[in-house]
Subunit: 104 residues, 2 copies
DNA sequence: TCTTTATTTCGCAAAATAACGAAATGATAT
DNA sequence: ATATCATTTCGTTATTTTGCGAAATAAAGA
Protein backbone atom coordinates (compact mmCIF):
# COMPACT_ATOMS: atom_id res chain seq x y z
CA UNK A 1 0.00 0.00 0.00
CA UNK A 2 1.97 2.95 1.28
CA UNK A 3 1.02 5.66 -1.13
CA UNK A 4 3.26 8.27 0.43
CA UNK A 5 1.62 10.95 -1.65
CA UNK A 6 3.39 14.24 -1.71
CA UNK A 7 1.52 16.80 0.31
CA UNK A 8 -0.37 19.17 -1.95
CA UNK A 9 1.03 22.49 -3.08
CA UNK A 10 -1.89 24.21 -1.37
CA UNK A 11 -1.11 22.68 1.99
CA UNK A 12 2.57 23.40 1.63
CA UNK A 13 1.96 26.99 0.62
CA UNK A 14 -0.50 27.60 3.41
CA UNK A 15 1.95 26.13 5.90
CA UNK A 16 4.55 28.58 4.65
CA UNK A 17 2.29 31.52 5.41
CA UNK A 18 1.36 30.11 8.81
CA UNK A 19 5.00 29.62 9.62
CA UNK A 20 5.78 33.21 8.69
CA UNK A 21 3.04 34.31 11.10
CA UNK A 22 4.20 31.86 13.75
CA UNK A 23 6.61 34.15 15.53
CA UNK A 24 5.51 36.75 18.08
CA UNK A 25 7.47 39.59 16.52
CA UNK A 26 6.20 38.90 13.01
CA UNK A 27 2.64 38.39 14.17
CA UNK A 28 2.80 41.64 16.11
CA UNK A 29 3.87 43.50 12.99
CA UNK A 30 1.04 42.06 10.94
CA UNK A 31 -1.50 42.74 13.68
CA UNK A 32 -0.32 46.31 13.85
CA UNK A 33 -0.57 46.84 10.11
CA UNK A 34 -4.06 45.37 10.14
CA UNK A 35 -5.24 47.32 13.11
CA UNK A 36 -3.99 50.65 11.87
CA UNK A 37 -4.98 49.87 8.32
CA UNK A 38 -1.79 51.66 7.52
CA UNK A 39 1.91 51.27 6.98
CA UNK A 40 4.81 51.61 9.33
CA UNK A 41 8.54 52.13 9.52
CA UNK A 42 11.20 49.89 10.93
CA UNK A 43 12.22 52.74 13.20
CA UNK A 44 8.79 52.90 14.81
CA UNK A 45 8.72 49.17 15.37
CA UNK A 46 12.12 49.00 16.98
CA UNK A 47 10.83 51.16 19.82
CA UNK A 48 7.87 48.86 20.47
CA UNK A 49 9.37 45.45 20.03
CA UNK A 50 11.96 43.98 22.35
CA UNK A 51 14.49 43.03 19.71
CA UNK A 52 17.47 44.67 18.07
CA UNK A 53 17.42 46.54 14.78
CA UNK A 54 19.14 43.90 12.75
CA UNK A 55 16.91 41.18 14.11
CA UNK A 56 13.84 43.22 13.34
CA UNK A 57 15.14 43.72 9.84
CA UNK A 58 15.43 39.96 9.43
CA UNK A 59 11.82 39.47 10.47
CA UNK A 60 10.65 42.13 8.03
CA UNK A 61 12.61 40.39 5.33
CA UNK A 62 10.87 37.11 6.10
CA UNK A 63 7.43 38.68 6.04
CA UNK A 64 8.33 40.21 2.72
CA UNK A 65 9.62 36.90 1.41
CA UNK A 66 6.40 35.23 2.49
CA UNK A 67 4.57 37.88 0.50
CA UNK A 68 2.69 39.29 3.45
CA UNK A 69 4.18 42.76 3.37
CA UNK A 70 5.94 44.97 0.92
CA UNK A 71 8.37 47.82 1.40
CA UNK A 72 8.48 51.11 -0.44
CA UNK A 73 11.70 53.05 -0.29
CA UNK A 74 11.13 56.58 0.96
CA UNK A 75 14.62 57.75 1.74
CA UNK A 76 15.88 57.67 4.32
CA UNK A 77 13.00 55.46 5.43
CA UNK A 78 11.42 52.31 4.16
CA UNK A 79 7.68 52.23 4.47
CA UNK A 80 6.29 48.78 5.08
CA UNK A 81 2.69 47.99 4.18
CA UNK A 82 0.54 44.91 3.99
CA UNK A 83 0.57 43.23 0.61
CA UNK A 84 -3.17 43.50 0.31
CA UNK A 85 -3.58 41.15 -2.61
CA UNK A 86 -1.69 38.35 -0.97
CA UNK A 87 -3.30 39.04 2.34
CA UNK A 88 -6.71 38.70 0.78
CA UNK A 89 -5.65 35.36 -0.69
CA UNK A 90 -4.44 34.21 2.71
CA UNK A 91 -7.63 35.41 4.32
CA UNK A 92 -9.67 33.26 1.98
CA UNK A 93 -7.52 30.22 2.58
CA UNK A 94 -7.82 30.54 6.31
CA UNK A 95 -11.48 31.29 6.20
CA UNK A 96 -12.00 28.05 4.38
CA UNK A 97 -9.91 26.14 6.86
CA UNK A 98 -11.50 27.69 9.89
CA UNK A 99 -15.11 27.99 8.95
CA UNK A 100 -15.96 25.03 6.78
CA UNK A 101 -16.46 23.12 9.99
CA UNK A 102 -18.34 25.38 12.31
CA UNK A 103 -20.71 22.55 13.05
CA UNK A 104 -18.01 20.91 15.14
CA UNK B 1 11.90 56.82 24.50
CA UNK B 2 12.38 53.16 23.66
CA UNK B 3 9.53 51.53 25.45
CA UNK B 4 10.48 48.01 24.43
CA UNK B 5 7.18 46.73 25.68
CA UNK B 6 6.92 43.00 26.04
CA UNK B 7 4.72 41.56 23.35
CA UNK B 8 1.32 40.66 24.76
CA UNK B 9 0.44 37.21 25.99
CA UNK B 10 -2.31 37.05 23.38
CA UNK B 11 0.08 37.68 20.53
CA UNK B 12 2.59 35.21 21.91
CA UNK B 13 -0.02 32.53 22.41
CA UNK B 14 -1.51 33.00 18.99
CA UNK B 15 1.95 32.81 17.44
CA UNK B 16 2.44 29.48 19.21
CA UNK B 17 -0.65 28.04 17.58
CA UNK B 18 0.29 29.44 14.18
CA UNK B 19 3.71 27.94 14.54
CA UNK B 20 2.25 24.55 15.33
CA UNK B 21 0.19 24.80 12.14
CA UNK B 22 3.14 26.10 10.17
CA UNK B 23 4.47 22.78 8.99
CA UNK B 24 3.03 20.93 6.00
CA UNK B 25 2.72 17.61 7.82
CA UNK B 26 0.99 19.11 10.83
CA UNK B 27 -1.28 21.27 8.74
CA UNK B 28 -2.22 18.25 6.65
CA UNK B 29 -3.23 16.34 9.75
CA UNK B 30 -5.40 19.18 11.01
CA UNK B 31 -6.98 19.68 7.59
CA UNK B 32 -7.78 16.01 7.45
CA UNK B 33 -9.36 15.95 10.88
CA UNK B 34 -11.45 18.98 9.97
CA UNK B 35 -12.50 17.68 6.60
CA UNK B 36 -13.52 14.28 7.85
CA UNK B 37 -15.01 15.73 10.98
CA UNK B 38 -13.59 12.62 12.56
CA UNK B 39 -10.55 11.14 14.19
CA UNK B 40 -7.67 9.18 12.75
CA UNK B 41 -4.87 6.83 13.61
CA UNK B 42 -1.16 7.30 13.27
CA UNK B 43 -1.08 4.18 11.13
CA UNK B 44 -3.46 5.68 8.58
CA UNK B 45 -1.45 8.87 8.38
CA UNK B 46 1.86 7.16 7.86
CA UNK B 47 0.57 5.75 4.58
CA UNK B 48 -0.48 9.17 3.32
CA UNK B 49 2.32 11.38 4.50
CA UNK B 50 5.86 11.14 3.19
CA UNK B 51 7.59 10.89 6.53
CA UNK B 52 8.70 8.08 8.83
CA UNK B 53 6.72 6.73 11.75
CA UNK B 54 8.87 8.27 14.44
CA UNK B 55 8.83 11.63 12.71
CA UNK B 56 5.08 11.51 12.38
CA UNK B 57 4.85 10.68 16.04
CA UNK B 58 6.85 13.80 16.83
CA UNK B 59 4.49 15.97 14.85
CA UNK B 60 1.48 14.46 16.59
CA UNK B 61 3.16 15.17 19.89
CA UNK B 62 3.62 18.80 18.94
CA UNK B 63 0.03 19.21 17.86
CA UNK B 64 -0.99 17.67 21.15
CA UNK B 65 1.33 19.96 23.08
CA UNK B 66 -0.11 22.95 21.24
CA UNK B 67 -3.54 21.76 22.38
CA UNK B 68 -4.89 21.29 18.88
CA UNK B 69 -5.46 17.55 19.08
CA UNK B 70 -5.88 14.92 21.71
CA UNK B 71 -5.24 11.20 21.70
CA UNK B 72 -7.35 8.44 23.16
CA UNK B 73 -5.70 5.12 23.75
CA UNK B 74 -7.61 2.31 22.05
CA UNK B 75 -5.17 -0.56 22.14
CA UNK B 76 -3.34 -1.30 20.08
CA UNK B 77 -4.19 2.00 18.43
CA UNK B 78 -4.22 5.59 19.51
CA UNK B 79 -7.10 7.56 18.16
CA UNK B 80 -6.30 11.18 17.50
CA UNK B 81 -9.07 13.74 17.39
CA UNK B 82 -9.31 17.51 17.22
CA UNK B 83 -9.43 19.19 20.58
CA UNK B 84 -12.68 20.90 19.77
CA UNK B 85 -12.70 23.34 22.62
CA UNK B 86 -9.25 24.66 21.88
CA UNK B 87 -9.92 24.63 18.19
CA UNK B 88 -12.97 26.78 18.69
CA UNK B 89 -10.84 29.22 20.68
CA UNK B 90 -8.28 29.29 17.92
CA UNK B 91 -10.98 29.76 15.33
CA UNK B 92 -12.23 32.84 17.14
CA UNK B 93 -8.76 34.28 17.45
CA UNK B 94 -8.06 33.83 13.78
CA UNK B 95 -11.42 35.08 12.74
CA UNK B 96 -10.72 38.28 14.57
CA UNK B 97 -7.33 38.65 12.97
CA UNK B 98 -8.50 37.81 9.51
CA UNK B 99 -11.87 39.45 9.29
CA UNK B 100 -11.72 42.63 11.31
CA UNK B 101 -10.20 44.23 8.26
CA UNK B 102 -12.20 43.00 5.35
CA UNK B 103 -12.47 46.56 4.09
CA UNK B 104 -8.83 46.43 3.06
C1' DT C 1 5.52 -17.21 27.94
C1' DC C 2 6.63 -15.65 23.58
C1' DT C 3 4.98 -13.08 19.54
C1' DT C 4 2.89 -9.70 17.18
C1' DT C 5 1.18 -5.01 16.56
C1' DA C 6 0.91 0.02 16.90
C1' DT C 7 3.11 3.49 18.56
C1' DT C 8 6.54 6.20 21.16
C1' DT C 9 11.03 7.41 23.02
C1' DC C 10 15.97 7.73 22.42
C1' DG C 11 20.19 9.14 20.38
C1' DC C 12 21.95 11.24 16.86
C1' DA C 13 23.01 14.31 12.69
C1' DA C 14 21.86 17.95 9.56
C1' DA C 15 19.56 21.99 8.67
C1' DA C 16 17.00 26.02 9.88
C1' DT C 17 16.01 29.84 12.99
C1' DA C 18 16.82 33.62 16.05
C1' DA C 19 19.58 36.85 17.92
C1' DC C 20 23.44 40.13 18.31
C1' DG C 21 26.87 43.85 17.14
C1' DA C 22 29.88 45.59 13.62
C1' DA C 23 30.32 47.01 9.14
C1' DA C 24 28.17 48.27 4.72
C1' DT C 25 24.72 50.77 1.95
C1' DG C 26 22.47 54.54 -0.17
C1' DA C 27 20.47 58.76 0.06
C1' DT C 28 20.64 63.41 1.65
C1' DA C 29 22.58 67.51 4.00
C1' DT C 30 26.65 70.26 5.37
C1' DA D 1 34.28 65.53 0.36
C1' DT D 2 32.35 64.27 4.59
C1' DA D 3 28.96 63.49 7.97
C1' DT D 4 24.51 61.87 9.12
C1' DC D 5 20.61 58.93 9.04
C1' DA D 6 17.63 54.71 8.65
C1' DT D 7 18.16 50.48 7.45
C1' DT D 8 20.29 46.14 5.81
C1' DT D 9 23.85 42.72 5.29
C1' DC D 10 27.53 40.03 7.26
C1' DG D 11 29.67 36.94 10.40
C1' DT D 12 28.98 34.52 14.31
C1' DT D 13 26.88 31.96 18.08
C1' DA D 14 23.31 29.44 20.46
C1' DT D 15 19.16 27.10 20.09
C1' DT D 16 15.48 24.73 17.93
C1' DT D 17 13.56 21.92 14.47
C1' DT D 18 13.29 18.11 11.45
C1' DG D 19 14.28 13.72 10.30
C1' DC D 20 15.86 8.92 10.73
C1' DG D 21 16.45 4.10 12.48
C1' DA D 22 16.98 1.30 16.55
C1' DA D 23 15.29 0.18 20.83
C1' DA D 24 11.54 0.49 24.25
C1' DT D 25 6.62 0.14 25.62
C1' DA D 26 2.20 -1.61 26.31
C1' DA D 27 -1.63 -4.37 25.18
C1' DA D 28 -3.51 -8.58 23.27
C1' DG D 29 -3.26 -13.21 20.99
C1' DA D 30 -1.13 -17.85 20.27
Amino acid sequence: MKKKTELSIETTEMARVLKALGHPVRLYIIQKLLKMNACCYSGDLVDEIPVGRSTLSQHLKELKYAGLIQGEVEPPYIKYCLNKGNWEEARKMFNELFTENEQL
